[in-house]
Amino acid sequence: MSPGAIRSAQYEEGVRVPASAEPLLSVDDLTTVFPTARGLAIASNSVSFHLEARETLGLVGESGSGKSVTCRSILGLVPEPGRIIGGSVRLQGVELLTLPERKLRTLRGTQISMIFQDPMSSLNPVYSVGEQITEPLRIHRGMTRREAKEEAVRLLQRVEIPAARERLDSYPHELSGGMRQRVMIAIAISCRPKLLLADEPTTALDVTIQDQILSLLLELQAEEGMAILLVSHDLGVIAQACDRVAVMYAGYVVEEASTEALFEQPAHPYTAALLQALPELAARRKDRRLVPIQGQPPELVRLPQGCPFAPRCELAQPACADVPMSLIEVTPGHLTACPFQERRRDGC
């Protein structure tokens, strides 16, 4: 596709999203499946959440919980043979799931950006850093070569890459993991997105570098006013970075709450058990003993009836097999999929 074609006004017009009182992003009943030899694996199971402008929502869960697939489904980037079979994803009222690929592609460059765990595999190894940053600037922001180069230097400086101008000629393999992730972030913010999807952006990095990248992301968010969907398995990262959190288990969102409420008063037994399993929390207990969650998560092709956490739940009861897995509001803004939670809180 030639840059000229993309620069035409028509494209930009086609995806201009109307301003409204709607949340920036609404995900409703999103269901994504993967056919396997042993049956259909439901990776995202009727997932619903929303994201306001300038907000950071954490999507936390263990491997196979569906957090990454959910994140990719938003952009229609589900890896083969996965399919989105239902639900809706709206960005300021515009339905993304039915948007033609052409328009979706423009949207990815202008309204939504994404960064991944491993910047080495998302950067192209045969193009210089400069070429990779200037490309979207010329395509989506219609800059000339010279303008794009100056903007690229500014962006690299903004993500705190030392000797930014010289780095334009570097290739990804010449950079450290942290620097590569900074380049990815520079590319991601180059088109001033309203929404940044960050899929485990610091997982492959060392602790001190992770800390730098998280700080940078939050700083940029405040400056650029973008919303972030932060996918992570790390409850520490979530606690440090997010305004609200959705906890996923076996494809379902099982709890959603403000970060403080979630860590202080978890309303789903899975969230509570996950927090109990952290070594940081064991340190506060007298015997310093870790409290693991017994057993394994269920196979996605063979989900148990009702609540998928019931087989591992210490508070399980026969009625758990009939739980519809829809979210119930415990307190305003605090949702849980466990209907027995409220009664327990009252001491029954």
């Binding site: 263990e62 060392d206 602790v207 570098i209 992770q210 952290l278 693991p292 969650i293």
Partner: protein
């Protein structure tokens, strides 16, 4: 030096290991010299009997190379390793085999350390057979005991690694390591690939086994909270050196090296009320091909002084059984 007093079981003295970096054709044509990545650069430490020493460090700190040197899975360039009075560094093949029976390793990824075509039972039995520590007719019973010890059912013996979950595979790897009744366990990032809920299961298992079998352990990890939980003492490594070592509580409550302090501050705390927005430490980790002069941490250190550029600090006592390699911080906090 160990918490239990008496002779330490393992003593490492001034250990060095560097790896030659393969030169490209172009580099060879230009007659560029072979570059050397320094992995372990003068490490000395000891581990007391029945003690767990945690080793923490970021990538390039040399923690894994150190572990491999201890068993001579890689040959150290210089320095000595003594295990229970025997010199490991100069041991011949037979001597080495005897030592390797007493020191066993558990790795991060049990999927790549287990042969996918060998059933679990056979994998656990193999070391015992090779070293001939149980009679042939008792091997099956030995395997079943080990399975029970690590919390797996008897039926697991007939399964292949791929039929097990990550946590179960790590249990198999632990059973295999215990198959030779070792005294010393080297666990290299044993829970790093596991989810939090499973990680807690494996940590509890290791803790129980160390206690019930009177094991001594080196526990290597990058995750501070995990190391804090399981270790009696902790060594912090940076670019091939131990920069601080001491009892766990002291290291975590009262770090005396700026790198340790920065590492602790950088670790994300799972508590939204304790948020820090400014990064704890600036700069990138220098390349092991190009270690800074003087103190190797000075390029990222908030306390660096001019002399740090020339004077390479060695480990100095900063408290009881607590050592740090820094010219500045220990003397500041003493004020």
């Amino acid at each position: 030096m160990g918490v239990n007093g008496g002779d330490p079981l393992l003593v490492v003295d001034d250990l060095h290991k560097a790896f030659a970096v393969r030169r490209s054709l172009l580099d060879r044509a230009r007659l560029r010299p072979t570059r050397r990545a320094i992995a372990v650069d003068g490490v000395s430490l000891s581990v007391g009997r029945r003690e767990t020493l945690g080793v923490v460090g970021e990538s390039g700190s040399g923690k894994t190379t150190l572990a491999r040197c201890l068993l001579r899975l890689v040959e150290p360039d210089a320095g000595s390793i003594r295990f229970d009075g025997t010199d490991v560094s100069t041991a011949d093949r037979q001597g080495l085999q005897a030592i390797r029976r007493r020191i066993q390793m558990v790795f991060q990824d049990p999927y790549s350390s287990l042969n996918p075509r060998v059933k679990v039972g056979a994998a656990i039995a193999e070391p015992a057979r090779v070293h001939g520590i149980v009679p042939d007719d008792a091997v099956d019973e030995h395997v079943l005991q080990l399975l029970e010890l690590v919390g797996l059912s008897r039926s697991a013996a007939e399964q292949y690694p791929r039929q097990l979950s990550g946590g179960q595979r790590q249990r198999v790897a632990i059973a295999r390591a215990l198959s030779l009744n070792p005294e010393f366990l080297i666990a290299d990032e044993p829970v790093s690939a596991l989810d939090v809920s499973i990680q807690a299961q494996i940590l509890n298992l290791l803790e129980d086994l160390v206690g019930s079998l009177n094991l001594t352990m080196i526990f290597i990890a990058h995750q501070l909270s995990v190391v804090r939980h399981i270790s009696d003492r902790v060594a912090i490594m940076y670019l091939g050196r131990v920069v601080e070592i001491g009892r766990t509580e002291e290291i975590f409550e009262c770090p005396q090296h700026p790198y340790t302090a920065g590492l602790l501050a950088a670790a994300p705390v799972p508590d939204p009320k304790k948020r820090s927005r400014a990064p704890a430490m600036q700069g990138d980790i220098p390349s092991p091909l190009n270690i800074p002069s003087g103190c190797r941490f000075r390029t990222r250190c908030p306390y660096a002084e001019p002399r740090c550029e020339v004077d390479d600090p060695s480990l100095q006592p900063v408290g009881r059984g607590h050592h740090a390699a820094c010219h500045v911080l220990p003397f500041r906090s003493a004020d």
